[in-house]
């Protein structure tokens, strides 16, 4: 099922514009991530799709060929996984997963068969009769997913599905969730503030900021061709290279860099992994911080730009604190992003 949003916006009664008019289309089977910092409107957008909030007049939500804008949440058939999971404490795992099927008034035998199938799929069969309170965080997350998926929804919506878990569990469950969603083969939209999560799970990522979708694309496209200052900084933590551009060169306080192509109205960015320590490099700076991270060192270098530039350095040894180092940034590693419109 294709999910289509046509100029959907949300203004809260107190006047807060949580979401500016937004158009969005998610083709069948695609997993889309809504990525952004808190307060960017990503959860509002998800709740508008679910029907938990109503959009401003004029916006439309389409599930395939059906305009569901006026339908209440219980009639939209959109499965939802909540941040806190919202599992029913008065029911067993089986009761929770079967609840949506019961609401569809399916015959008992059919419910049992479907619940068994979903339990198997989500590897929850051994816990079928447990109460919710007797489950671990990871198991609860799977039950929430199974419960949303069991009634064969038209699409799945997930609100920060991993954020209630502790960090070590989150990494392993992230891959598990990606595999399960692929197995379901269902159109899915999920909200996250964690770029690694978005990159690992989603086919496409929509980066949101200030109630708008800033850029939407595959994880690679967002990483390699960010179209705005915000996307460059938020995805992969790109650092701005503030300096004077003259045609093909970028003049920084710490040296001159050749640019990939002349673009007068662009802002240059670079990521830490592309700043290389090189004795013959054109940039000069002073090491002011040094962190050993196992696979690499993270160096903070002052003097190249106005801000501290970070460099990831692999190797057996690293420059010492206070040492002056020379760096190189390859022209193809420089991200050129259209300059921000001046704030109105």
């Amino acid at each position: 099922m294709t999910l289509t949003l046509k100029s959907v916006a949300k203004t809260y009664p107190d006047g807060t514009e949580a979401l500016h008019p937004t158009d969005l289309s998610v083709p069948p089977g695609e997993i889309l991530a809504l990525l952004g910092p808190s307060g960017c409107g990503k959860t509002t957008l998800l709740r508008l799709i679910a029907g938990l909030e109503s959009a401003n007049l004029g916006g439309e939500v389409w599930f395939g060929e059906d305009n569901v804008t006026a339908l209440a949440v219980e009639h939209r058939k959109a499965g939802m996984v909540f941040q806190s999971y919202a599992l029913f404490p008065n029911m067993s795992v089986r009761g929770n997963i079967g609840y949506g099927l019961k609401m569809q008034k399916l015959p008992k035998a059919e419910i049992t068969a479907r619940v068994d199938e979903v339990l198997e799929l989500c590897q929850l069969a051994p816990f079928a009769h447990r109460t919710i309170t007797a489950l671990s965080g990871g198991q609860r997350q799977r039950v929430a997913l199974a419960r949303a998926f069991a009634p064969r929804p038209r699409l799945l919506l997930l609100d920060e599905p991993l954020s209630a878990l502790d960090a070590t569990l989150r990494d392993s469950l992230r891959d598990e969730l990606a595999i399960l969603l692929r197995k379901f083969g269902i159109t899915a939209v999920f909200v996250t503030h964690d770029q690694n999560e978005a990159m690992a799970i989603a086919d496409r990522v929509a980066v949101m900021s200030g109630g708008r979708i800033e850029q939407i694309g595959t994880p690679e496209a967002l990483y390699r061709q960010p179209k705005s200052d915000f996307v460059a900084r938020f995805v992969g933590n790109a650092m701005p290279l503030e300096g004077r551009m003259d045609g093909t060169n970028l003049h920084l306080p710490g040296g001159v860099l050749p640019l990939p192509d002349p673009s007068p109205n662009a802002q240059a960015f670079v990521r830490a992994e592309d700043v290389r320590i090189d004795a013959d490099g054109p940039l000069t700076g002073k090491v002011i911080s040094l962190t050993f991270l196992g696979t690499h060192y993270r160096l903070g270098i002052a003097g190249i730009t106005d801000i501290v530039l970070y460099a990831l350095h692999t190797g057996q040894s690293a420059p010492k604190l206070g040492e002056t180092v020379r760096c190189r940034i390859d022209p193809e590693a420089i991200l050129l992003v259209p300059k921000e419109r001046p704030a109105a």
Binding site: A50, F82, S84, A86, F88, P89, N90, M103, A148, P151
Partner: protein
Amino acid sequence: MLKSPTKIAQLVVTLLACAFLLVPALQSMLAGITVNYFQGVSSGLTTKWIVQVWELYAGSIGLSIWLAFACLFCTLLIGVPAAYGLARNPGWISRVLEEFISLPLAIPGLALALALLQLYGSVQGFRTHWSFILTGHVLYTLPFMVRSVLAVLAAMDLKTLEEGAASLGASPWQRFRDIVIPNAMPGILAGSLTVVTLSIGEFNLTWMLHTPYLKTLPVGLADSYASMRLEVASAYTLVFFIMIIPLLMAMQWASNRAQRIVA
């Protein structure tokens, strides 16, 4: 264990306190089955006072139990949806309403009864009907039910649980029945326990509202203390005791059980 004088002193104080509370109760119960209390137990034991109480006040006992359960029914019917409404719509209006419902707690039962008499006293059929006393009992016990249920509902993430059920296709009524009621059960049971106990034991308000043909257990108790011989009054206390203890225990058990299921 009883080596130190402090320990012994503590034990003595505890035992004295227990005796202070228990001895009169036991004496009263004993009086209820003694042939002649002024001669003491040596006059022999009998059940004739209990039989007499039963003959005289069986109606009061029946009425009290009937009133307690009718009152429970009404407070459940009004109190649970009211608590749900308050929990779903937090804000200053809800706070004001909650205080308003709780007002009967602060007003003496006598004043409440007087207000009821002034307002409805002239409605003939109602004034002499048991539902008049029921109205008073419901007014008085409703805040206990609402607060007890509200406390449980406020402790859980009701909004998200309901949204979860809604996303699975549950209508507002199904959400209330399948999610709200079962999860509020410990509060509902605790509230029910309080309501039934308060209704059976309520005296102030009932004494003002009762008619000679509508006497509840405590009103009958006062009546027997005032006009019967001591043995009958004591036997009445004994009957009261025997009636209310199993009821209390049953509801306590039910409420504990529900709490264990939820926790």
